[in-house]
Amino acid sequence: MIGVVAIAAMGMMGANMTLTVKDQMSEMGNVLTVTHDAGTNSGGTGGGMGGPPGMGGSSSSDDDDENFISDSQFKAVRNSVGTNGTVYTVHSSSDSFSVGTKDGHATVYGLDTDVIPDILNLSDGAYPKGDTGALVGANLAERFNLTLGSRLSLGEEDEGIHTVRVVGIIEERGMSFDLSTDNAVVLADESYTGFYGDEKQYDQVNVVLKDIDDADATSMTITDQLNKKKTQVRVSDASRMLESITSTIGTMTTFVMAIAGISLLVAAVSIFNVMMMSVTERIREIGIMRSLGTQKPEILKMFVYESAILGFAGALIGALFSFGIGYLVVSMLIGNTAHFFEAGSLVYLPAAMLVGTVICIVSGLYPAWRAANLDPIEALRAE
Protein backbone atom coordinates (compact mmCIF):
# COMPACT_ATOMS: atom_id res chain seq x y z
CA MET A 1 0.00 0.00 0.00
CA ILE A 2 2.74 2.42 1.02
CA GLY A 3 4.74 1.47 -2.05
CA VAL A 4 1.76 2.10 -4.28
CA VAL A 5 1.21 5.48 -2.62
CA ALA A 6 4.87 6.39 -3.08
CA ILE A 7 5.03 5.39 -6.71
CA ALA A 8 1.68 6.89 -7.66
CA ALA A 9 2.29 10.16 -5.80
CA MET A 10 5.78 10.58 -7.27
CA GLY A 11 4.59 9.64 -10.74
CA MET A 12 1.72 12.09 -10.54
CA MET A 13 4.05 14.80 -9.29
CA GLY A 14 6.38 14.26 -12.25
CA ALA A 15 3.49 14.21 -14.71
CA ASN A 16 2.02 17.38 -13.24
CA MET A 17 5.40 19.09 -13.28
CA THR A 18 5.86 18.24 -16.96
CA LEU A 19 2.35 19.35 -17.84
CA THR A 20 2.72 22.62 -15.90
CA VAL A 21 6.06 23.40 -17.53
CA LYS A 22 4.59 22.59 -20.93
CA ASP A 23 1.79 24.98 -20.15
CA GLN A 24 4.18 27.75 -19.18
CA MET A 25 6.31 27.09 -22.22
CA SER A 26 3.41 26.99 -24.60
CA GLU A 27 2.40 30.39 -23.29
CA MET A 28 5.71 31.51 -24.74
CA GLY A 29 5.39 29.28 -27.75
CA ASN A 30 4.37 32.20 -29.90
CA VAL A 31 7.65 34.01 -29.25
CA LEU A 32 10.61 33.70 -31.62
CA THR A 33 13.95 35.21 -30.79
CA VAL A 34 16.36 36.32 -33.49
CA THR A 35 19.96 36.70 -32.39
CA HIS A 36 23.22 37.24 -34.16
CA ASP A 37 24.93 34.02 -35.21
CA ALA A 38 28.68 34.38 -34.88
CA GLY A 39 29.43 32.78 -38.21
CA THR A 40 28.73 29.13 -37.44
CA ASN A 41 27.64 27.07 -40.38
CA SER A 42 24.63 25.64 -38.63
CA GLY A 43 22.16 27.65 -40.72
CA GLY A 44 18.51 26.80 -40.60
CA THR A 45 16.69 27.66 -37.46
CA GLY A 46 19.79 27.14 -35.37
CA GLY A 47 20.53 24.37 -32.99
CA GLY A 48 20.77 26.19 -29.70
CA MET A 49 18.14 27.00 -27.16
CA GLY A 50 18.47 30.75 -27.52
CA GLY A 51 17.33 32.22 -24.26
CA PRO A 52 17.09 35.67 -22.82
CA PRO A 53 19.84 38.07 -23.80
CA GLY A 54 22.06 39.73 -21.30
CA MET A 55 22.67 36.50 -19.44
CA GLY A 56 26.22 36.12 -20.61
CA GLY A 57 27.41 39.15 -18.75
CA SER A 58 29.09 40.71 -21.76
CA SER A 59 28.99 44.44 -21.89
CA SER A 60 27.69 45.77 -25.17
CA SER A 61 30.25 48.53 -25.31
CA ASP A 62 33.04 46.00 -25.73
CA ASP A 63 31.48 44.19 -28.69
CA ASP A 64 32.02 45.09 -32.28
CA ASP A 65 29.24 45.58 -34.77
CA GLU A 66 29.40 42.01 -35.92
CA ASN A 67 27.73 40.76 -32.75
CA PHE A 68 24.56 42.73 -33.17
CA ILE A 69 21.43 42.53 -35.16
CA SER A 70 21.65 45.53 -37.44
CA ASP A 71 18.78 47.84 -38.16
CA SER A 72 18.53 46.49 -41.71
CA GLN A 73 18.36 42.95 -40.40
CA PHE A 74 15.62 44.04 -37.97
CA LYS A 75 13.70 45.52 -40.87
CA ALA A 76 14.16 42.33 -42.86
CA VAL A 77 12.73 40.35 -39.94
CA ARG A 78 9.83 42.77 -39.71
CA ASN A 79 9.15 42.34 -43.40
CA SER A 80 9.32 38.55 -43.10
CA VAL A 81 6.81 38.52 -40.25
CA GLY A 82 4.51 41.02 -41.94
CA THR A 83 1.12 41.10 -40.33
CA ASN A 84 1.59 37.74 -38.59
CA GLY A 85 2.87 39.31 -35.40
CA THR A 86 4.68 42.09 -33.60
CA VAL A 87 8.43 42.55 -33.92
CA TYR A 88 10.41 44.49 -31.37
CA THR A 89 14.07 45.09 -30.64
CA VAL A 90 15.88 44.33 -27.43
CA HIS A 91 18.97 46.10 -26.19
CA SER A 92 20.62 44.37 -23.32
CA SER A 93 23.74 44.40 -21.26
CA SER A 94 24.91 43.41 -17.86
CA ASP A 95 26.00 46.22 -15.63
CA SER A 96 26.70 47.11 -12.05
CA PHE A 97 24.56 49.56 -10.13
CA SER A 98 24.25 51.14 -6.74
CA VAL A 99 21.26 51.95 -4.58
CA GLY A 100 22.27 54.27 -1.80
CA THR A 101 25.23 52.47 -0.25
CA LYS A 102 24.42 49.04 -1.68
CA ASP A 103 26.04 47.80 -4.87
CA GLY A 104 24.69 45.13 -7.18
CA HIS A 105 24.77 43.69 -10.67
CA ALA A 106 21.85 43.24 -13.02
CA THR A 107 20.78 42.78 -16.60
CA VAL A 108 19.74 46.06 -18.16
CA TYR A 109 17.24 45.99 -21.02
CA GLY A 110 16.39 48.75 -23.40
CA LEU A 111 12.94 48.38 -24.94
CA ASP A 112 10.70 50.46 -27.14
CA THR A 113 8.29 52.38 -24.88
CA ASP A 114 5.43 51.57 -27.23
CA VAL A 115 6.05 47.84 -26.84
CA ILE A 116 6.69 47.65 -23.09
CA PRO A 117 2.99 47.72 -22.03
CA ASP A 118 2.28 44.83 -24.43
CA ILE A 119 4.95 42.50 -23.10
CA LEU A 120 5.40 43.35 -19.42
CA ASN A 121 2.81 43.48 -16.65
CA LEU A 122 3.43 45.67 -13.64
CA SER A 123 2.56 44.84 -10.07
CA ASP A 124 2.96 48.47 -9.07
CA GLY A 125 3.59 51.87 -10.65
CA ALA A 126 3.46 52.93 -14.30
CA TYR A 127 5.34 52.31 -17.55
CA PRO A 128 8.40 54.59 -18.14
CA LYS A 129 7.99 57.57 -20.42
CA GLY A 130 10.85 59.93 -19.83
CA ASP A 131 14.60 59.50 -19.99
CA THR A 132 15.06 58.67 -16.31
CA GLY A 133 12.18 56.29 -15.64
CA ALA A 134 13.01 52.63 -15.08
CA LEU A 135 11.18 49.40 -14.36
CA VAL A 136 12.72 46.85 -12.02
CA GLY A 137 12.04 43.12 -11.68
CA ALA A 138 10.17 41.80 -8.66
CA ASN A 139 13.14 39.91 -7.21
CA LEU A 140 15.53 42.81 -7.70
CA ALA A 141 13.05 45.17 -6.01
CA GLU A 142 12.75 42.83 -3.06
CA ARG A 143 16.49 42.25 -2.66
CA PHE A 144 17.38 45.95 -2.75
CA ASN A 145 14.23 47.29 -1.12
CA LEU A 146 13.39 49.23 -4.23
CA THR A 147 10.06 51.03 -4.21
CA LEU A 148 8.46 53.51 -6.51
CA GLY A 149 10.63 56.60 -6.57
CA SER A 150 13.83 54.81 -5.49
CA ARG A 151 16.93 56.04 -7.25
CA LEU A 152 19.26 53.64 -8.99
CA SER A 153 22.72 54.57 -10.33
CA LEU A 154 23.83 52.41 -13.26
CA GLY A 155 27.49 52.02 -14.26
CA GLU A 156 30.84 52.54 -12.57
CA GLU A 157 31.89 55.93 -11.30
CA ASP A 158 35.02 56.11 -13.49
CA GLU A 159 33.08 55.28 -16.67
CA GLY A 160 30.08 57.46 -16.02
CA ILE A 161 26.89 57.08 -14.07
CA HIS A 162 23.31 57.05 -15.31
CA THR A 163 20.85 57.65 -12.54
CA VAL A 164 17.29 56.47 -13.04
CA ARG A 165 14.15 56.50 -10.92
CA VAL A 166 12.01 53.43 -10.34
CA VAL A 167 8.57 54.11 -11.82
CA GLY A 168 7.22 50.57 -11.83
CA ILE A 169 7.77 47.08 -10.49
CA ILE A 170 7.44 44.24 -13.03
CA GLU A 171 5.30 41.27 -12.02
CA GLU A 172 7.23 38.10 -11.36
CA ARG A 173 7.48 36.18 -14.65
CA GLY A 174 9.49 33.13 -13.55
CA MET A 175 11.32 31.17 -16.18
CA SER A 176 11.07 33.03 -19.45
CA PHE A 177 12.24 32.44 -22.95
CA ASP A 178 12.29 35.93 -24.43
CA LEU A 179 13.17 38.28 -21.57
CA SER A 180 14.34 37.46 -18.08
CA THR A 181 13.09 40.44 -16.11
CA ASP A 182 12.83 39.21 -12.52
CA ASN A 183 16.33 40.45 -11.70
CA ALA A 184 16.60 43.08 -14.39
CA VAL A 185 16.29 46.82 -14.93
CA VAL A 186 14.22 47.82 -17.93
CA LEU A 187 14.81 51.21 -19.50
CA ALA A 188 13.14 52.98 -22.37
CA ASP A 189 15.12 52.57 -25.60
CA GLU A 190 16.19 56.23 -25.67
CA SER A 191 17.35 56.14 -22.10
CA TYR A 192 19.35 52.94 -22.78
CA THR A 193 21.04 54.12 -25.98
CA GLY A 194 21.63 57.55 -24.48
CA PHE A 195 23.84 55.92 -21.87
CA TYR A 196 25.18 52.76 -23.54
CA GLY A 197 25.12 53.86 -27.20
CA ASP A 198 24.44 51.09 -29.71
CA GLU A 199 21.70 52.96 -31.47
CA LYS A 200 20.31 50.91 -34.36
CA GLN A 201 22.24 47.91 -33.19
CA TYR A 202 20.27 45.36 -31.25
CA ASP A 203 21.22 42.41 -29.12
CA GLN A 204 18.08 40.55 -30.02
CA VAL A 205 14.92 40.89 -32.01
CA ASN A 206 11.81 39.24 -30.57
CA VAL A 207 8.82 38.24 -32.63
CA VAL A 208 5.45 37.80 -30.89
CA LEU A 209 3.22 35.85 -33.28
CA LYS A 210 -0.55 36.15 -33.32
CA ASP A 211 -0.93 32.44 -34.00
CA ILE A 212 1.34 29.86 -32.40
CA ASP A 213 0.94 27.61 -35.46
CA ASP A 214 2.83 30.14 -37.57
CA ALA A 215 6.00 29.62 -35.49
CA ASP A 216 7.69 27.12 -37.80
CA ALA A 217 6.76 28.85 -41.05
CA THR A 218 7.80 32.28 -39.80
CA SER A 219 11.03 30.89 -38.44
CA MET A 220 11.79 29.40 -41.86
CA THR A 221 10.94 32.61 -43.68
CA ILE A 222 13.24 34.68 -41.47
CA THR A 223 16.08 32.22 -41.89
CA ASP A 224 15.59 32.06 -45.65
CA GLN A 225 15.60 35.83 -45.91
CA LEU A 226 18.59 36.58 -43.69
CA ASN A 227 20.79 33.53 -44.07
CA LYS A 228 20.67 33.36 -47.87
CA LYS A 229 24.37 33.77 -48.55
CA LYS A 230 25.91 33.50 -45.12
CA THR A 231 24.60 32.47 -41.72
CA GLN A 232 23.95 35.76 -39.99
CA VAL A 233 21.18 35.14 -37.51
CA ARG A 234 19.88 32.37 -35.36
CA VAL A 235 16.13 31.98 -34.89
CA SER A 236 15.03 30.10 -31.75
CA ASP A 237 11.61 29.11 -30.53
CA ALA A 238 10.33 27.74 -27.24
CA SER A 239 9.76 24.18 -28.48
CA ARG A 240 13.47 23.28 -28.34
CA MET A 241 13.72 24.52 -24.80
CA LEU A 242 10.53 22.62 -23.97
CA GLU A 243 11.97 19.36 -25.32
CA SER A 244 15.06 19.76 -23.22
CA ILE A 245 13.17 20.63 -20.03
CA THR A 246 10.60 17.84 -20.52
CA SER A 247 13.40 15.34 -20.97
CA THR A 248 15.12 16.59 -17.80
CA ILE A 249 11.90 16.33 -15.78
CA GLY A 250 11.29 12.87 -17.25
CA THR A 251 14.71 11.69 -16.06
CA MET A 252 14.12 13.22 -12.65
CA THR A 253 10.68 11.60 -12.34
CA THR A 254 12.09 8.18 -13.27
CA PHE A 255 14.78 8.61 -10.64
CA VAL A 256 12.31 9.65 -7.94
CA MET A 257 10.00 6.76 -8.89
CA ALA A 258 12.92 4.35 -8.65
CA ILE A 259 13.47 5.54 -5.09
CA ALA A 260 9.73 5.11 -4.45
CA GLY A 261 10.10 1.62 -5.93
CA ILE A 262 12.36 0.73 -3.01
CA SER A 263 9.38 1.14 -0.69
CA LEU A 264 7.51 -1.28 -2.94
CA LEU A 265 10.39 -3.72 -2.54
CA VAL A 266 10.06 -3.36 1.24
CA ALA A 267 6.32 -4.00 0.82
CA ALA A 268 7.13 -7.11 -1.21
CA VAL A 269 9.30 -8.42 1.63
CA SER A 270 6.42 -7.75 4.06
CA ILE A 271 3.95 -9.59 1.83
CA PHE A 272 6.40 -12.48 1.59
CA ASN A 273 6.64 -12.49 5.36
CA VAL A 274 2.86 -12.32 5.82
CA MET A 275 2.33 -15.15 3.36
CA MET A 276 5.00 -17.29 5.02
CA MET A 277 3.33 -16.66 8.37
CA SER A 278 -0.03 -17.49 6.86
CA VAL A 279 1.35 -20.78 5.55
CA THR A 280 2.91 -21.56 8.93
CA GLU A 281 -0.27 -20.69 10.83
CA ARG A 282 -2.41 -22.77 8.52
CA ILE A 283 -0.04 -25.66 8.13
CA ARG A 284 -2.50 -27.97 9.89
CA GLU A 285 -5.36 -26.85 7.67
CA ILE A 286 -3.20 -27.55 4.64
CA GLY A 287 -2.51 -31.03 6.04
CA ILE A 288 -6.24 -31.62 6.52
CA MET A 289 -7.02 -30.45 3.00
CA ARG A 290 -4.28 -32.64 1.55
CA SER A 291 -5.52 -35.66 3.53
CA LEU A 292 -9.03 -35.02 2.22
CA GLY A 293 -7.75 -35.22 -1.33
CA THR A 294 -6.90 -31.63 -2.31
CA GLN A 295 -4.37 -31.61 -5.14
CA LYS A 296 -1.12 -29.64 -4.85
CA PRO A 297 -1.98 -27.17 -7.64
CA GLU A 298 -5.20 -26.33 -5.81
CA ILE A 299 -3.33 -25.47 -2.61
CA LEU A 300 -0.88 -23.43 -4.71
CA LYS A 301 -3.75 -21.56 -6.38
CA MET A 302 -5.39 -20.91 -3.03
CA PHE A 303 -2.32 -19.12 -1.65
CA VAL A 304 -1.55 -17.30 -4.90
CA TYR A 305 -5.14 -16.01 -4.98
CA GLU A 306 -4.77 -14.97 -1.38
CA SER A 307 -1.64 -12.93 -2.08
CA ALA A 308 -3.32 -11.50 -5.19
CA ILE A 309 -6.36 -10.44 -3.13
CA LEU A 310 -4.08 -9.07 -0.41
CA GLY A 311 -2.04 -7.20 -3.03
CA PHE A 312 -5.07 -5.87 -4.87
CA ALA A 313 -6.78 -4.74 -1.66
CA GLY A 314 -3.57 -3.01 -0.55
CA ALA A 315 -3.14 -1.46 -3.97
CA LEU A 316 -6.73 -0.24 -3.98
CA ILE A 317 -6.39 1.38 -0.55
CA GLY A 318 -2.99 2.70 -1.66
CA ALA A 319 -4.54 4.20 -4.78
CA LEU A 320 -7.21 5.95 -2.71
CA PHE A 321 -4.55 7.38 -0.41
CA SER A 322 -2.38 8.28 -3.42
CA PHE A 323 -5.22 10.33 -4.77
CA GLY A 324 -5.25 12.50 -1.66
CA ILE A 325 -1.51 12.49 -0.98
CA GLY A 326 -0.70 13.02 -4.66
CA TYR A 327 -3.01 16.03 -4.74
CA LEU A 328 -1.32 17.45 -1.64
CA VAL A 329 2.18 16.84 -3.00
CA VAL A 330 1.31 18.41 -6.34
CA SER A 331 -0.37 21.44 -4.80
CA MET A 332 2.44 21.95 -2.29
CA LEU A 333 5.47 21.30 -4.48
CA ILE A 334 4.24 22.50 -7.85
CA GLY A 335 1.58 24.92 -6.69
CA ASN A 336 -0.67 24.12 -9.61
CA THR A 337 -3.23 21.33 -9.62
CA ALA A 338 -4.81 22.27 -12.93
CA HIS A 339 -3.42 19.13 -14.54
CA PHE A 340 -4.03 16.75 -11.63
CA PHE A 341 -7.21 15.26 -13.05
CA GLU A 342 -5.82 14.77 -16.54
CA ALA A 343 -5.30 11.25 -17.89
CA GLY A 344 -1.52 11.75 -18.11
CA SER A 345 -1.41 12.30 -14.35
CA LEU A 346 -4.14 9.92 -13.12
CA VAL A 347 -2.75 7.03 -15.19
CA TYR A 348 -0.16 6.58 -12.43
CA LEU A 349 -2.92 5.32 -10.08
CA PRO A 350 -3.83 2.16 -12.05
CA ALA A 351 -0.19 1.77 -13.10
CA ALA A 352 1.02 1.78 -9.48
CA MET A 353 -1.85 -0.55 -8.51
CA LEU A 354 -0.82 -2.99 -11.22
CA VAL A 355 2.82 -2.89 -10.14
CA GLY A 356 1.81 -3.33 -6.48
CA THR A 357 -0.50 -6.27 -7.19
CA VAL A 358 2.01 -8.04 -9.44
CA ILE A 359 4.76 -7.64 -6.83
CA CYS A 360 2.44 -9.09 -4.17
CA ILE A 361 1.62 -12.09 -6.34
CA VAL A 362 5.30 -12.67 -7.11
CA SER A 363 6.27 -12.46 -3.43
CA GLY A 364 3.45 -14.88 -2.57
CA LEU A 365 4.64 -17.50 -5.05
CA TYR A 366 7.29 -19.15 -2.89
CA PRO A 367 5.08 -19.41 0.24
CA ALA A 368 2.32 -20.87 -1.97
CA TRP A 369 4.72 -23.38 -3.50
CA ARG A 370 5.92 -24.31 -0.02
CA ALA A 371 2.35 -24.80 1.21
CA ALA A 372 1.51 -27.01 -1.77
CA ASN A 373 4.55 -29.19 -1.23
CA LEU A 374 4.12 -29.74 2.51
CA ASP A 375 4.20 -33.34 3.61
CA PRO A 376 0.57 -34.07 4.68
CA ILE A 377 1.74 -36.04 7.73
CA GLU A 378 4.08 -33.29 8.92
CA ALA A 379 1.34 -30.75 8.29
CA LEU A 380 -1.24 -32.78 10.26
CA ARG A 381 1.15 -33.15 13.19
CA ALA A 382 1.70 -29.39 13.42
CA GLU A 383 -0.02 -27.69 16.31
Binding site: L292, G293, I377, L380
Partner: protein, 253 residues
Protein backbone atom coordinates in the same frame (compact mmCIF):
# COMPACT_ATOMS: atom_id res chain seq x y z
CA UNK B 1 -16.60 -67.09 -1.91
CA UNK B 2 -14.14 -65.34 0.37
CA UNK B 3 -13.81 -61.55 0.29
CA UNK B 4 -10.79 -60.15 -1.61
CA UNK B 5 -8.02 -58.29 0.23
CA UNK B 6 -8.51 -54.55 -0.12
CA UNK B 7 -5.33 -53.57 1.72
CA UNK B 8 -2.10 -55.55 1.37
CA UNK B 9 1.24 -54.70 2.96
CA UNK B 10 4.29 -56.67 1.96
CA UNK B 11 7.51 -56.26 3.95
CA UNK B 12 6.72 -52.62 4.63
CA UNK B 13 9.48 -50.84 6.53
CA UNK B 14 9.53 -47.24 7.67
CA UNK B 15 12.75 -45.76 8.95
CA UNK B 16 13.08 -42.22 10.30
CA UNK B 17 16.69 -41.11 9.91
CA UNK B 18 17.73 -39.05 12.91
CA UNK B 19 21.07 -37.53 13.89
CA UNK B 20 21.17 -39.83 16.89
CA UNK B 21 20.61 -42.88 14.68
CA UNK B 22 17.86 -44.36 12.51
CA UNK B 23 14.53 -45.11 14.17
CA UNK B 24 12.76 -48.14 12.73
CA UNK B 25 9.05 -47.34 13.12
CA UNK B 26 7.84 -50.29 11.03
CA UNK B 27 9.96 -53.36 10.61
CA UNK B 28 9.09 -55.55 7.60
CA UNK B 29 5.36 -55.62 8.28
CA UNK B 30 3.32 -57.94 6.08
CA UNK B 31 -0.43 -58.01 6.52
CA UNK B 32 -3.63 -58.12 4.58
CA UNK B 33 -7.07 -56.62 5.31
CA UNK B 34 -10.11 -57.92 3.47
CA UNK B 35 -12.94 -55.91 2.01
CA UNK B 36 -15.66 -55.34 4.61
CA UNK B 37 -13.37 -56.16 7.53
CA UNK B 38 -13.25 -54.21 10.81
CA UNK B 39 -9.64 -54.20 12.02
CA UNK B 40 -8.23 -52.54 15.13
CA UNK B 41 -4.55 -51.66 15.41
CA UNK B 42 -3.35 -51.53 19.00
CA UNK B 43 -0.07 -51.02 20.72
CA UNK B 44 1.72 -48.89 23.28
CA UNK B 45 2.82 -45.33 22.55
CA UNK B 46 5.66 -45.15 20.06
CA UNK B 47 5.08 -48.72 18.88
CA UNK B 48 4.44 -47.60 15.31
CA UNK B 49 0.65 -48.03 15.10
CA UNK B 50 0.04 -44.51 13.79
CA UNK B 51 2.88 -44.97 11.31
CA UNK B 52 1.18 -48.14 10.12
CA UNK B 53 -2.16 -46.34 9.79
CA UNK B 54 -0.50 -43.54 7.82
CA UNK B 55 0.99 -46.11 5.47
CA UNK B 56 -2.40 -47.74 4.96
CA UNK B 57 -4.02 -44.32 4.54
CA UNK B 58 -1.24 -43.45 2.14
CA UNK B 59 -0.46 -40.21 3.88
CA UNK B 60 3.13 -41.40 4.28
CA UNK B 61 5.68 -43.13 2.04
CA UNK B 62 7.36 -46.37 3.20
CA UNK B 63 11.15 -46.70 3.19
CA UNK B 64 10.80 -50.09 1.56
CA UNK B 65 8.18 -52.76 0.86
CA UNK B 66 5.03 -52.83 -1.21
CA UNK B 67 1.51 -51.62 -0.51
CA UNK B 68 -1.60 -52.40 -2.52
CA UNK B 69 -4.94 -50.69 -1.98
CA UNK B 70 -7.99 -51.87 -3.91
CA UNK B 71 -5.67 -53.79 -6.19
CA UNK B 72 -3.52 -50.82 -7.14
CA UNK B 73 0.23 -50.77 -6.43
CA UNK B 74 0.64 -47.58 -4.43
CA UNK B 75 4.41 -47.34 -5.02
CA UNK B 76 3.83 -46.75 -8.74
CA UNK B 77 1.28 -43.98 -8.26
CA UNK B 78 1.98 -40.31 -8.91
CA UNK B 79 1.17 -37.69 -6.27
CA UNK B 80 -1.90 -36.71 -8.28
CA UNK B 81 -3.18 -40.31 -8.36
CA UNK B 82 -2.51 -40.79 -4.64
CA UNK B 83 -4.39 -37.60 -3.81
CA UNK B 84 -7.23 -38.84 -5.97
CA UNK B 85 -7.17 -42.13 -4.07
CA UNK B 86 -7.47 -40.25 -0.77
CA UNK B 87 -10.39 -38.27 -2.17
CA UNK B 88 -12.38 -41.18 -3.64
CA UNK B 89 -11.38 -44.43 -1.92
CA UNK B 90 -10.28 -43.46 1.60
CA UNK B 91 -12.13 -41.65 4.35
CA UNK B 92 -10.26 -40.32 7.40
CA UNK B 93 -11.49 -39.87 10.94
CA UNK B 94 -8.97 -38.28 13.29
CA UNK B 95 -8.69 -38.15 17.06
CA UNK B 96 -8.66 -34.34 17.00
CA UNK B 97 -11.50 -34.28 14.45
CA UNK B 98 -9.42 -32.04 12.14
CA UNK B 99 -12.34 -30.01 10.91
CA UNK B 100 -11.46 -26.83 9.03
CA UNK B 101 -12.06 -24.14 11.69
CA UNK B 102 -13.22 -21.36 9.38
CA UNK B 103 -15.86 -23.46 7.67
CA UNK B 104 -19.24 -24.40 9.12
CA UNK B 105 -20.07 -28.04 9.86
CA UNK B 106 -22.01 -28.19 6.59
CA UNK B 107 -19.15 -26.64 4.61
CA UNK B 108 -16.67 -29.04 6.18
CA UNK B 109 -18.67 -31.95 4.78
CA UNK B 110 -19.30 -30.10 1.53
CA UNK B 111 -15.57 -29.47 0.92
CA UNK B 112 -14.54 -33.01 -0.14
CA UNK B 113 -17.88 -33.37 -1.96
CA UNK B 114 -17.04 -30.32 -4.07
CA UNK B 115 -13.49 -31.56 -4.62
CA UNK B 116 -14.84 -34.80 -6.08
CA UNK B 117 -17.97 -33.72 -7.89
CA UNK B 118 -16.96 -30.17 -8.89
CA UNK B 119 -20.56 -29.07 -8.46
CA UNK B 120 -22.92 -28.12 -5.64
CA UNK B 121 -24.89 -30.78 -3.83
CA UNK B 122 -28.31 -30.15 -5.31
CA UNK B 123 -29.60 -33.59 -4.31
CA UNK B 124 -29.29 -32.85 -0.58
CA UNK B 125 -26.80 -35.69 0.03
CA UNK B 126 -24.85 -33.67 2.62
CA UNK B 127 -27.91 -32.60 4.63
CA UNK B 128 -29.26 -36.16 4.71
CA UNK B 129 -25.87 -37.52 5.72
CA UNK B 130 -25.47 -34.96 8.51
CA UNK B 131 -29.06 -35.63 9.57
CA UNK B 132 -28.36 -39.34 9.82
CA UNK B 133 -25.65 -38.49 12.38
CA UNK B 134 -27.96 -36.22 14.36
CA UNK B 135 -26.63 -32.94 12.97
CA UNK B 136 -29.67 -30.89 11.95
CA UNK B 137 -29.38 -27.92 9.53
CA UNK B 138 -29.33 -25.39 12.40
CA UNK B 139 -26.41 -27.20 14.03
CA UNK B 140 -24.72 -27.65 10.66
CA UNK B 141 -24.58 -23.87 10.26
CA UNK B 142 -22.21 -23.62 13.23
CA UNK B 143 -18.47 -23.61 13.08
CA UNK B 144 -16.60 -26.53 14.69
CA UNK B 145 -15.56 -24.46 17.74
CA UNK B 146 -19.25 -23.99 18.55
CA UNK B 147 -19.95 -27.76 18.60
CA UNK B 148 -19.31 -30.37 21.29
CA UNK B 149 -16.60 -33.01 20.82
CA UNK B 150 -19.17 -35.68 19.98
CA UNK B 151 -20.90 -33.42 17.47
CA UNK B 152 -17.57 -32.52 15.87
CA UNK B 153 -16.63 -36.18 15.53
CA UNK B 154 -19.99 -36.97 13.95
CA UNK B 155 -19.42 -34.14 11.47
CA UNK B 156 -15.95 -35.60 10.81
CA UNK B 157 -17.50 -39.05 10.17
CA UNK B 158 -20.05 -37.47 7.81
CA UNK B 159 -17.16 -35.74 6.02
CA UNK B 160 -15.27 -39.03 5.76
CA UNK B 161 -18.34 -40.74 4.27
CA UNK B 162 -19.58 -38.02 1.91
CA UNK B 163 -17.66 -39.38 -1.09
CA UNK B 164 -18.72 -42.97 -0.28
CA UNK B 165 -15.19 -44.35 0.31
CA UNK B 166 -14.48 -48.09 0.36
CA UNK B 167 -12.15 -47.78 3.37
CA UNK B 168 -12.51 -45.77 6.58
CA UNK B 169 -9.25 -44.98 8.36
CA UNK B 170 -9.82 -43.99 11.99
CA UNK B 171 -7.04 -42.66 14.20
CA UNK B 172 -8.19 -42.85 17.86
CA UNK B 173 -11.72 -41.66 16.91
CA UNK B 174 -12.95 -41.85 20.52
CA UNK B 175 -9.74 -40.57 22.12
CA UNK B 176 -11.11 -37.07 22.78
CA UNK B 177 -14.63 -38.14 23.73
CA UNK B 178 -16.38 -39.22 26.91
CA UNK B 179 -17.37 -42.88 27.27
CA UNK B 180 -21.02 -42.40 26.30
CA UNK B 181 -20.23 -40.41 23.16
CA UNK B 182 -17.36 -42.79 22.35
CA UNK B 183 -19.77 -45.71 22.51
CA UNK B 184 -22.19 -43.94 20.17
CA UNK B 185 -19.37 -43.28 17.68
CA UNK B 186 -18.24 -46.92 17.85
CA UNK B 187 -21.80 -48.10 17.27
CA UNK B 188 -21.98 -45.83 14.25
CA UNK B 189 -18.73 -47.30 12.90
CA UNK B 190 -20.00 -50.85 13.53
CA UNK B 191 -23.16 -50.00 11.67
CA UNK B 192 -21.12 -48.69 8.74
CA UNK B 193 -19.04 -51.88 8.78
CA UNK B 194 -22.17 -53.99 8.80
CA UNK B 195 -23.17 -52.20 5.64
CA UNK B 196 -19.97 -53.39 3.95
CA UNK B 197 -17.43 -50.67 4.62
CA UNK B 198 -13.86 -51.68 5.47
CA UNK B 199 -12.76 -50.02 8.70
CA UNK B 200 -9.22 -49.76 10.07
CA UNK B 201 -9.02 -48.18 13.48
CA UNK B 202 -6.04 -47.28 15.68
CA UNK B 203 -6.82 -47.26 19.39
CA UNK B 204 -5.34 -47.47 22.86
CA UNK B 205 -8.65 -48.53 24.30
CA UNK B 206 -9.24 -52.32 24.57
CA UNK B 207 -13.00 -51.65 24.75
CA UNK B 208 -12.88 -50.01 21.34
CA UNK B 209 -10.92 -52.98 20.00
CA UNK B 210 -13.76 -55.31 21.02
CA UNK B 211 -15.88 -53.84 18.20
CA UNK B 212 -13.31 -55.06 15.66
CA UNK B 213 -13.29 -58.40 13.87
CA UNK B 214 -9.61 -58.73 14.67
CA UNK B 215 -6.80 -56.77 16.24
CA UNK B 216 -3.32 -56.16 14.91
CA UNK B 217 -0.93 -55.45 17.74
CA UNK B 218 2.15 -53.41 17.01
CA UNK B 219 5.17 -53.61 19.26
CA UNK B 220 8.54 -52.09 18.35
CA UNK B 221 7.43 -51.70 14.76
CA UNK B 222 6.45 -55.34 14.38
CA UNK B 223 2.91 -56.51 13.91
CA UNK B 224 1.13 -59.45 15.47
CA UNK B 225 -2.53 -60.32 15.20
CA UNK B 226 -5.28 -61.63 17.41
CA UNK B 227 -9.04 -61.76 17.48
CA UNK B 228 -10.36 -58.91 19.59
CA UNK B 229 -13.83 -60.15 20.36
CA UNK B 230 -12.69 -63.38 21.93
CA UNK B 231 -9.33 -62.03 23.07
CA UNK B 232 -7.84 -65.32 22.05
CA UNK B 233 -4.36 -65.25 20.61
CA UNK B 234 -3.82 -66.20 17.03
CA UNK B 235 -1.10 -68.73 16.38
CA UNK B 236 1.17 -66.27 14.63
CA UNK B 237 1.05 -63.85 17.55
CA UNK B 238 2.08 -66.59 19.88
CA UNK B 239 4.89 -67.60 17.58
CA UNK B 240 6.05 -63.98 17.31
CA UNK B 241 5.69 -63.91 13.55
CA UNK B 242 5.66 -60.51 11.92
CA UNK B 243 3.79 -61.77 8.90
CA UNK B 244 0.14 -61.85 9.77
CA UNK B 245 -1.71 -62.05 6.51
CA UNK B 246 -2.17 -65.84 6.64
CA UNK B 247 -3.48 -65.60 10.20
CA UNK B 248 -6.42 -63.35 9.33
CA UNK B 249 -9.72 -65.01 10.30
CA UNK B 250 -11.22 -63.43 7.18
CA UNK B 251 -8.51 -64.75 4.95
CA UNK B 252 -9.60 -68.19 3.92
CA UNK B 253 -6.39 -68.87 2.09
Amino acid sequence: MSPAPIIELEEVTKIYPLASGDVVALDHVTLSIDEGEFVAIMGPSGSGKSTLLNQIGRLDVPSSGRLRIAGADIGRMTDHELTDLRLKTLGYIFQKFNLLPLLTAFENVEYPYLMKHRQNDTAGVISRLLGSFGIDPALAAHRPAELSGGQQQRVAIARALVNDPAILICDEPTGNLDTKTGTQIMETLTDLNNRGRTIVIVTHDPTVATYADRTITIRDGRASLRAAASSSSWPCAASGSTSCAPCSPHSAS
